[in-house]
């Protein structure tokens, strides 16, 4: 009896082990599949220039970064397996992975890296902002050396910039559709997927790169982009099972998805925010009192409640938000709401009977709703804003005379940056390429410059506090909230972590069963 039970027990144990083994084998086999992504159609395909989330997500699946930013904002090796920084902080030496090949079969080497970074400078890619001035050279095929003109504590974030994707040496027209046998010859990266079909404005199919350098990756066989520009249609496509993954879901649609079965809603804390900004060099915003009046006239708590249903974190007057644990000062006093004070300030500024102005905004992310509520709030302070809602692409288009860089008063959407320096250098320095407010404050420029060479987080946080002060006193921007980003997948998708900048989401470890 006893020995019999023992035998049965042993047999059961054996069976269990066998099941475990076969089970794991099966689960390995189950990896792969096709991920169908519903996203807005890309318009700029050049990996050094395309800037919105779908464009970056598309490009980063075809190309690789030298080093990359993880969703937790740390820097990780990628095509560069390691790096060293000299004592003076002026020389960065990267050692590259071996055996990496481009999709056309050619070898990846240091020359490609040198070419890529020089190209970023030549074509004036926004990526150069965080890189500062540098020279890049290749002492041998597996080594790349960057020499900086001045110290830059954020240099690695510059190298990991979303647009710094490594292209083939000499590639003059990356991602341009070619005529002839292989229309996709210019989509030549080292990345985990190769482009096999592209239908403009309709869809794109990416197929697994079987010889990808990273062992065991990617898991997916195919990625299919379905280009859907309408946010409601995107959500419907997810619900009906036409796509498996959508990101940047508009605030109105979130609660409807919470209860939907078969769908997982993903919330990502980010520093994404709308910037309500005045121009400082023309229009009423030239007067600091007017800027103050707008700040006092804006009830941020109500905006967050009505537009985001309270899901955001209330913002202040500078772009350093809760996404940056090290730098965000949660104790800082949030700008008070006082329409009477706003009225008084406007009167002092020479607008005793109120102020008439046009508010430019875009038709996504709930910003048209934001404008509608702002208009009502501002009316109480004597600011009569007329709303002009623009198609997103049109508002950011250079040919539009009232575009985001030109309008007197507008709302701009700012996506997540891995470090606050990204916003400050791009938009709030005199020379910043996206200086939409045309703000020029020498003291601020100096502080931003100082922050860029301060590697110690505590010291940098102190500088950022001073910067926040300047924004509070004379800054031309209002930040109603920092928004979480909502994405959703169907339940059969696993291994997906949405990055704070959704376009940077890494799809290599994703599988669909």
């Amino acid at each position: 009896m006893q020995s019999g039970t023992y035998r049965i027990g042993r047999f059961a144990a054996l069976l269990a082990i066998l099941l475990l083994i076969t089970g794991s084998v099966f689960s390995v086999h189950a990896q792969g599949g096709t991920l169908r992504i519903g996203a807005v159609a890309p318009t700029v395909l050049d990996p050094a220039l395309g800037s919105n989330d779908p464009e970056i997500l598309f490009n980063r699946s075809i190309y690789d970064y030298l080093v990359e930013v993880l969703p937790d904002r740390s820097i990780a090796p990628n095509l560069a397996k390691s790096w060293t920084i000299s004592e003076d902080g002026l020389t960065y030496t990267f050692t590259l992975e071996d055996g990496v090949k481009f999709h056309d079969g050619s070898d990846f080497s240091s020359a490609d890296v040198v070419y890529t970074f020089n190209r970023l400078v030549t074509i004036e890619s926004p990526a150069v902002n965080l890189l500062g001035e540098f020279a890049v050279s290749a002492p041998d095929a597996a080594t790349v050396v960057f020499t900086l003109t001045s110290p830059n504590a954020d240099f690695l974030y510059g190298v990991a910039n979303q647009l710094a994707l490594i292209v083939k040496d000499g590639a003059e027209t990356p991602n341009e559709l070619a005529s002839g046998d292989n229309p996709y010859a210019n989509f030549n990266g080292t990345g985990p997927f190769t482009l096999t079909e592209y239908k403009e404005g309709e869809s794109a199919t990416l197929t697994k790169n079987a010889t990808y350098w990273k062992e065991g990756q990617p898991l997916l066989d195919t990625i299919q982009f379905q280009f859907i520009n309408d946010p409601v249609t995107q959500v419907n496509a997810l619900k009906s099972g036409e796509v498996d993954f959508i990101f940047k879901i508009s605030p109105d649609q979130v609660s409807g998805l919470e209860t939907e079965s078969g769908i997982s809603l993903i919330q990502t804390t980010t520093n994404q925010h709308p910037v309500i900004r005045l121009r400082t060099d023309q229009g009423p915003g030239t007067d600091v009192k007017v800027r103050q009046a707008f700040k006092y006239a804006t009830d941020r708590a109500e905006l967050n409640d009505l537009v985001l249903e309270g899901r955001g974190t209330i913002g202040n007057n500078d772009p350093i938000g809760p996404g940056y644990a090290t730098f965000f000062d949660a104790d800082i006093q949030v700008q008070e709401y006082d329409p009477e004070k706003a009225k008084a300030l406007l009167a002092e500024a020479g607008y005793p009977d109120g102020l008439n102005i046009t508010l430019q905004t875009i038709n996504v992310l709930g910003y048209d709703t934001l404008a509608t509520v702002l208009q009502q709030q501002w009316a109480l302070a004597g600011i009569n804003a007329e709303i002009q809602v623009n198609e997103e692409g049109f508002y950011y288009d250079d040919s539009n005379p009232d575009n985001w860089l030109k309008a007197d008063l507008g709302i701009t959407g700012w996506g997540d940056r891995p470090i606050p320096q990204g916003y400050l250098a791009e938009a709030y320095t005199t020379e910043g390429i996206y200086n939409e407010t045309h703000w020029s404050d020498p003291a601020l420029d100096e502080l931003i410059q100082q922050a860029s060479i301060t590697a110690d987080p505590a010291a940098r946080a102190a500088i950022y506090n001073q910067i926040s002060e300047i924004f509070n006193e004379s800054g031309p921007i209002i930040i109603p909230w920092f928004a979480p980003i909502f994405s959703a997948t169907r339940e059969n998708v696993s291994g997906l972590t949405v990055a704070p900048f959704p376009g940077l989401t890494d799809l290599r470890g994703v599988s669909v069963s």
Binding site: Q253, D368, T372, V373, Q375
Partner: protein, 297 residues
């Protein structure tokens, strides 16, 4: 029943004065057909709404009622409130103006210009007719919504922009219809008689031809009006019409679309209002067509 048509058949000169009497006749005939009566009543109600809506509405169209977002229809808010706490009933009432005035103005201009071009080309004929007709034909070849999108993209979304677009779209259509109607009467005896009397061209056009083509013109105007309402609402829906916080029904439908699962009433009522109005105008147009025994061109 046949007073209008018999007048048309007789077509004696100087009929302008005698045309006012048949207006009452037309009303009576419309009222005798149940569907036409419904159309007439609906259109009348909406016109009343456009005139008195803002006075009757409990709230202003852009007022955010504190703490009243997403309320279902109730005795307090007949049509419920939208996601921002605006009273949908008040917005629908205010919106009648936007939805009736813009298409109304646009249709009036389009029908006036179209009628003048149509009568002129048919009456004078010759190379002017050829050139103008081919020009209008080429305009007709462009799909309506596409032309509207391109034009509003260029001149920017505004009520005047919409009026211009509708006028451009409908002038060729009206002109073609009126041109055919005019060709039918051009060689009639009374026109010849007027010519032989030595009447001026403008006199013949407006005192002789216009009364004869008036039935066609009326039906055409009613039809154009219903299409114009639809087009305006479509443009509002696409965000190319009037700007927020306007209570344009098309825009309201668009704004309510994203939160449909929680505030469906914010979509039902403006959408329903558009549907009822368009059906009403169409029933009326259909009734007019029957009264005038006008078969269209």
């Amino acid at each position: 029943m046949t007073s209008i048509t018999s007048e048309n058949a007789v077509q004696s000169p100087s009929r302008i004065k005698r045309l006012t009497a048949p207006v009452w006749n037309v009303f009576k005939q419309l009222a005798s057909r149940p569907l036409s009566l419904v159309g007439m009543v609906v259109v009348a109600l909406f016109i009343l709404m456009a005139i008195f809506g803002p006075i009757v509405a409990p709230y202003k169209f852009d007022a955010l009622i504190k703490g009243a977002a997403r309320q279902a229809p109730s005795a307090e808010f007949f049509f419920g409130t939208d996601k921002l706490g605006r009273d949908v009933y008040s917005r629908v009432l205010w919106g009648a103006r936007e939805v009736i005035v813009i298409p109304g103005v646009a249709t009036t201009i389009a029908v006036t210009i179209g009628a003048i071009i149509g009568m002129g080309t048919a009456y004078f004929g010759g190379w002017i007719d050829e050139i103008v007709s081919r020009l209008l034909d080429s305009l007709l070849a462009i799909p309506a919504l596409l032309l509207a999108l391109v034009m509003l993209g260029v001149i920017g979304p505004s009520p005047i922009g919409i009026v211009i677009v509708i006028v451009l779209l409908y002038v060729p259509i009206v002109a073609r219809v009126i041109r055919s109607a005019t060709l039918n009467v051009r060689s009639s005896g009374f026109i010849e008689a007027a010519r032989l009397r030595g009447e001026a061209n403008w006199y013949i056009l407006f005192r002789e031809i216009l009364p004869s083509v008036l039935p066609a013109l009326t039906v055409e105007a009613a039809l154009r009006f219903s299409y114009a309402i639809f087009l305006t609402a479509s443009l509002g829906f696409l965000g190319l019409g009037v700007q927020p916080p306007s209570p344009d029904w098309g825009r309201m439908v668009n704004e309510a679309r994203e939160s449909y699962d929680r505030t469906p009433w914010a979509l039902w009522f403006p959408a329903g209002a558009i549907a009822v109005l368009v059906i009403g105008v169409n029933l009326l147009a259909d009734g007019l067509r029957r009264v005038f025994r006008y078969e269209g061109v």
